[in-house]
């Protein structure tokens, strides 16, 4: 459903963030993108919805080639890709409800959105999503009054109300404590399953990734080093991705904690 062909990004400074990455993501697959800082994870995700303009290569979403689109059609295609951010990236001075509804911006006209006159169906859907993530009571609170985990849930609602086919998730747990991190990852993966969404999740925490996803991609210095199911991630593989370190503990931890999250086993 999502296909990257020889995707390359070279920044003006000369840093080559992506080196001809090829990747195919089938419908409904949740995959984790791991790799050290600076490996190009964020750049890869941002090149897909062209928040960062790729230097060369192609991105196909379904049959549409995103890389060649004009800005108008790109906006229409962006509606099919929900994005979730590391620092939540909520508009802090707007209410929770406005933040969720802002996910519909690609569907409504300027004046409707400016006057906050969203179609009733959008409003209902927003309430349903907030209820699903357990934040219905917070709808009229300002976003900066929420805790980190709550904000990330609002971010998830904003991405889902777009009715996307694909979720781009950039370090969803990097600013959260371990328990909340796990809750958020579980929520994202559950929602993907419920709605049959594909997702690309950038993540630092290898153990957490192994716990929840079906496929892991290891990125190093802008190139794919590993591609396979999470249980084939061996210390050797991690060493090629991250460099030498004692990896046994990291992987062991996953097996210990697996029973904590039975619903995510698949």
């Amino acid at each position: 459903m999502l296909r990257l062909e020889k995707l390359t990004k070279t920044y003006k400074t000369g840093d080559q963030a992506l080196k001809a990455v090829d990747l195919v993501v089938p419908e409904g697959q949740v995959l984790a993108l791991i790799g050290p800082s600076g490996a190009g994870k964020s750049t890869l995700i941002r090149c897909i919805n062209r928040l960062v303009e790729p230097t060369s290569g192609k991105v196909y979403l379904g049959d549409v080639e995103l890389t060649g689109l004009s800005s108008g059609s790109l906006r229409r295609e962006r509606r099919r890709m929900g994005m979730i951010f590391q620092e939540y990236a909520l508009v802090e001075r707007l209410s929770v409800m406005e933040n969720v509804l802002s996910g519909r911006l690609g569907y409504v006209g300027f004046w409707r959105s400016f006057l906050r006159k969203y179609p009733q169906a959008d409003v209902d859907e927003a309430f349903r999503l907030l209820d699903r993530v357990g934040l219905l009571a917070m709808a009229d609170k300002r976003a900066d009054e929420l805790s980190g985990g709550q904000r990330q849930r609002v971010g998830i609602c904003r991405a889902l109300i777009q009715n996307p086919a694909l979720l781009l998730v950039d370090e969803p747990t990097a600013s959260l404590d371990p328990k909340t991190s796990r809750q958020i990852m579980r929520l994202v993966c559950e929602l993907c399953k419920e709605r049959g969404l594909a997702a690309i999740i950038n993540i630092h925490d290898v153990a957490l990734a192994q716990m929840f996803v079906q496929r892991v991609i290891g990125l190093r210095a802008g190139a794919v080093e590993f591609d396979g199911p999470p249980d084939t991630l061996t210390p050797d593989v991690l060493t090629t991705i991250y460099g030498a370190e004692d990896w046994e503990a990291t992987i062991d931890k996953v097996e210990d904690e697996d029973d904590d999250a039975p619903e995510a086993a698949e």
């Binding site: 209410s95 409800m97 906050r116 969203y118 009733q120 349903r128 209820d131 009571a137 709808a139």
Partner: protein, 270 residues
């Protein structure tokens, strides 16, 4: 589906209003609209005169493309020099006086009586605009740059002392206490505990004030207090737009140069 959700689905949603009390919100809105209408109604605009003026406005804009620096070059040069001289002298004197007053107006340094005296000096200086002070000083000291110099010095004191005093009041207490604990005298304490903390801000503010003083010096001439303002006024009176344009361009140029300079200096001290 939870009961709260059922209660909400199908209902219209509205952004919670900025002012929560309904009557107050409408009163504010209505009051503001009424004021605007009243204000517009009382402004008398002579549209025929405005229309006539458009031609002159066009000439003036065109004058900017061909400013005349030469035909009144002597007047322009003398006026600018006087403006600069007033700016420099007033800035030096104003800054020198405002430092002790700022120390006196900082509650964490000065005893209460001194604090009150210094604060009232600041209040008086800030409440009187430069041009009004200039009118009074011209009446007292006669025409000429002395009145302008005194005006700008006086205005500098209000501006600089207030901001500097606020900076001193918000400084890091621990550093100052450490110096005091070493057994320093009051003057030593100011020199070692306070001065290093407020110095960058003092320099930044001083540069900013020099900039303001120059801009103000350009209008003091309108009331006879010296500087380029008199030349500019004459140019307008005689409809010599090209000379006026030249003067304005020089003012803009000097202000830009000062801003650039102050940017460079502020970067170096911080």
């Amino acid at each position: 589906m939870s009961t709260e959700l059922e209660a909400l689905v199908g209902k219209r949603w509205k952004k919670p209003p900025f002012v929560r009390r309904g009557w107050l919100r409408w009163a504010l809105l209505f009051g503001f609209a009424a004021y605007l209408v009243a204000a517009f109604l009382t402004i008398e605009i002579n549209w025929a005169r405005v229309y006539e003026g458009l031609e002159r406005g066009k000439q003036f804009v065109l004058a900017f493309t061909s400013p005349d620096f030469t035909s009144r070059s002597v007047d322009i040069w003398d006026g600018m020099l006087e403006s600069v001289i007033m700016t420099v002298a007033a800035s030096v004197v104003g800054i020198a006086i405002s430092i002790p007053i700022a120390l006196g107006a900082a509650r964490n340094i000065a005893p209460l009586p001194v604090y009150l005296i210094c604060r009232s000096i600041i209040a008086v200086s800030r409440a009187l605009q430069e041009i009004i002070v200039a009118i009074l000083l011209v009446a007292i000291f006669g025409f000429g740059p002395l009145a302008g110099f005194l005006t700008l010095s006086f205005a500098t004191i209000g501006f600089l002392s207030k901001l500097l005093a606020e900076d001193i009041e918000s400084m890091d207490k621990v550093q100052a206490e450490a110096i005091k604990a070493s057994g320093a005298k009051w003057t030593q304490w100011i020199n070692y505990g306070v001065q290093p903390q407020v110095m960058p801000r003092l320099i930044g503010l001083s540069m900013y004030r020099i900039d303001i003083n120059f801009r103000e010096s350009a209008i003091l001439g309108l009331v006879g207090a010296g500087g380029i303002g008199a030349t500019l006024n004459t140019a307008f009176d005689r409809y010599e737009y090209d000379t006026a344009a030249a003067i304005l361009l020089i003012i803009i140029g000097v202000v830009m140069a000062l801003e650039y300079l102050s940017g460079v200096i502020r970067e170096r001290v911080q």
